[in-house]
């Protein structure tokens, strides 16, 4: 992901392809808490969708339902047309708390998913090394998680998810632990990645700016029970200087619009 910092990313904005992930009428109830209510969403390959909403509105829950980690109370999720009953090889997850094995080196952590898929040692280590380098951690292959900073650990989790070459990447606040500079660098790198790989990205964030900057589409969720409160498709030209995007009137207007929409929930 260490793309040149001037991410020259142009993306087809025409969503003509068939959705790879379909969420149909999904609700989730935890005991008495209604976390999600009647969510209908579709996700197409090659596009990045952000889930944006106040804390506790069910973003993580939705992502985990799509991952097959928790069953929905109602409704279903389909991946490539088939209903989800559990985790599958076409989906990978980036955990908000990294979920690294503390007793394993960076190399082993990144290769973990491949290892479980039965990829032979030499091959999985080669692929792991490639992705470690891609996220800018070359030289840290033999380090242990506790020897890395929070942001570096987050990148290990990212590399592990990218290494299994899944079609759908579910990312739960993947940049939450990094400082502002690194975060910006990551965002630019992610734009490069989306442009290069024809994958489906689902991205949870708390930051309106981040969502607008990165996304082809932003799904706004209402507070509990979370439902789709609105969908924004920022029409931002992503070629050229990344700094220009942040000063782009369309960018600023979109941020403003979303903020005004969400403000109601805060008050």
């Amino acid at each position: 992901m260490s793309a040149p910092s001037t991410a020259t990313a142009t993306r087809p904005t025409a969503p003509s392809t068939r959705p790879i992930v379909e969420v149909r009428g999904v609700s989730k109830v935890y005991g008495k808490v209604r976390a999600l209510h009647a969510i209908d969403l579709e996700f197409e390959p090659g596009r990045l969708t952000s889930l944006l909403g106040p804390s506790g509105c069910g973003k993580t829950t939705l992502l985990k339902i799509i991952a097959g980690l928790i069953p929905p109370s109602e409704g279903e999720v389909r991946i490539q047309g088939r209903p989800v009953t559990g985790p599958g090889p076409e989906r990978a997850f980036v955990f908000q708390d990294f979920a690294l094995l503390p007793w394993a080196t960076v190399l082993k952590n990144v290769a973990f998913g491949l290892e479980l898929r039965g990829v032979p040692r030499a091959e999985r280590e080669e692929r792991a090394r490639h992705w470690i380098a891609e996220v800018g951690l070359a030289g840290f292959e033999q380090s242990y998680p506790h020897q890395l900073s929070g942001g570096m650990r987050q990148r290990v989790g990212l590399a592990r998810a990218l290494a299994v070459d899944a079609q759908v990447l579910l990312m739960d606040e993947p940049f939450s632990a990094v400082d502002e500079q690194t975060r910006r660098k990551f965002q630019e790198d992610l734009l490069g990645l989306v442009a290069r790989e024809k994958k489906t990205f689902l991205f949870v964030t708390h930051s309106i700016e981040e969502a607008v900057y990165l996304s082809d589409r932003i799904v706004l969720l209402s507070p509990r029970p979370g439902r789709v409160a609105g969908i924004v498709e920022p029409k931002i030209r992503r070629d050229g200087d990344p700094e220009r995007i942040r000063r782009d009137p369309v960018y600023l207007d979109t941020v403003e619009t979303i903020w005004r929409g969400l403000k109601g929930y805060v008050e």
């Binding site: 980690l69 985790p87 997850f93 708390d97 979920a99 094995l101 479980l116 242990y144 506790h146």
Partner: protein
Amino acid sequence: MRSAALDEPAAVPVEAEDGRTALGGAALRLLSVAIVLGLWEVAGRGGVNPALPAFSETALAALAMLADGSLPAAFLVTLEPLVLGLAISTLLGVGLGIAMGLWRPAEWLGVPVLVILQAAPLAALVPLLTFAYGIGLTSKTLVVCIMALPVIVLNAYRAIRHTPQSLVEMGRVFLASPRIIVLRIVLPAASPVIFAGLRLGVAAGFIGAILAELLITPTGIGDLVTYHQSVADYPRMYAAIAAIVLASALTIGLLERVEIRLFRPERAGR
């Protein structure tokens, strides 16, 4: 079940050296030992109590007992039930704890009983064990077991139950089978706490071994203590006690080292 023994920190944590200046620390620790031993010497010589020998007398007695071989011989005798009991407790305890952590029916059956056993003064069972199994090795081994087993089981159980949920979810996302999740995630994640439980079990086992030797029949170190007490050879009696206390401290210190080495690489580097 939320209960006294369960929400207590899984085990007394390893006392790690923190970033204090090592040299000044070592000097102070040396000073501390010197002060305590000095006080002991003064109290012994000053005749605070006729049954309190000075430190120098005790140390000389210890050397004499080392030289005539009585101390090493006693240690060998004491070690027998101790090692046997700890081996049994470790195998059985870790096995039970893991079973309780992984399998709901075992948890339901086992946890309440173990919570009681950990809080209860099981030493009171010693007369019963003597009554049932006589005064030999079996009883003494069982005393070590009843002291060491509950803490080992409960630590293993808690360690398994406290596996970080996100690590298990990570395993599932990357398509690990339940067996692989247990072998590759749950057990490695639990092993530091399981090992800390073993350390606590060893400390409890020492208490049990000495209790058995003092209460059932005097053998080994217990014999040295009772015999020298009966002939009023207090320096040798104290030397035997100091020796077993030191042996226990050294064993536990060694286990801490091993623990840091194996499971806490972030502390080993200091």
